[in-house]
Symmetry: C2
Subunit: 143 residues, 2 copies
C-alpha cells in the first residue's frame, strides 16, 4: 500500500517522543502529470541552498542518481523547468532553482499553511485521543 | 526518500490521462504515535464494508499479513482500538470498525474536505501551469 511509511523514513519528530501534536503531510496528486510532495519540495529547497543536486540529495540521505531522477520528474510536471542543471565542471556541475521553481515552492508552502489552519480543530480532536504514550516508549517500559 | 511514489502505487487517476486537475493526499503525522493517511483510512472503510481484514486487504492488493500489521499499527495510535478482530472461525474470523474508528474516519474525511476547500486557489494556480501533456502521453507520441 502506498501510504505506509517506508522503512527508511526518518522523522524529525521522532526526537521528541512525547510531543502530543500533529502535522499534516501534503502531497498534491496531479494525476498522470505526477505527484508533488514534501520530499520534492525539500529537495528543491536544498538545491537552492547548495547550488547542487548532489549536495541536496546527500543532505536528504539519497544517492545522486535518485536525486537526479526526482529532479527529472519534477521538471516534467509543469510547462517550465523548476531546476536547471549544468553537466560537468568542478564538483559535478551546478544546479539552480528557476524563478518558476521558487514560485511552485511558495505555492506548496502556502497550501501547507492554509491546510494546517483550516484543519486545526479536527487535528486537535484527533490529538486529544492519542494513546497515553507512543507504542515504542510503552514497549521499552514493559520490558 | 519517503515522499516518492512506490513502484506499486496504483493511481485511479491514471485511467484519465489528460485530466487537468489535482487532489490533495493528506497524511497526519502524530510523531512517535504514528502516521494516519489515505491507505489506513481506506483499509478501515473496506473492513467496515466487508467485515474482514483479509477481504479489505485483498481489495487493496495487499497480503493478509500486511493488512493485519497496518490494523495493529492503527490500533496503537489512539487510546481506544479502531478495529476489532476475532481470530479463527469460518473464513478466518471477522473484523469490525468500532464507533471510535468511524469517528476517526469522519475526522480524517473532514480534514481532507477542509484542506481541499482552503487550498483550492493555490492548487488551481499550480494546475494552470501543468505541462501541455503528461509525460507518458508525450513519450508515446514521440516514439
Amino acid at each position: 500500500m502506498r501510504q505506509a511509511p517506508r522503512k527508511s523514513t526518518r522523522r524529525a519528530v521522532a526526537k521528541c517522543k512525547d510531543a502530543r501534536s500533529a502535522s499534516l503531510m501534503i502531497r498534491i496528486d496531479f494525476g498522470a502529470f505526477g505527484l508533488l510532495g514534501p520530499g520534492k519540495i525539500q529537495l528543491m529547497e536544498l538545491i537552492a541552498k547548495h547550488g547542487s543536486i548532489s549536495a541536496a540529495g546527500k543532505e536528504m540521505g539519497m544517492s545522486y542518481r535518485r536525486a537526479w531522477l526526482l529532479v527529472d520528474e519534477i521538471n516534467h510536471i509543469f510547462r517550465e523547468p523548476l531546476v536547471l542543471s549544468q553537466i560537468g565542471g568542478a564538483g559535478g556541475g551546478g544546479a539552480q532553482v528557476t524563478e518558476f521553481g521558487h514560485e511552485v515552492i511558495r505555492q506548496y508552502r502556502a497550501i501547507q499553511q492554509a491546510a494546517a489552519e483550516a484543519c486545526d480543530a479536527h487535528v486537535r480532536a484527533l490529538v486529544a485521543s492519542l494513546a497515553d504514550k507512543p507504542r515504542a516508549v510503552l514497549e521499552e517500559e514493559t520490558r
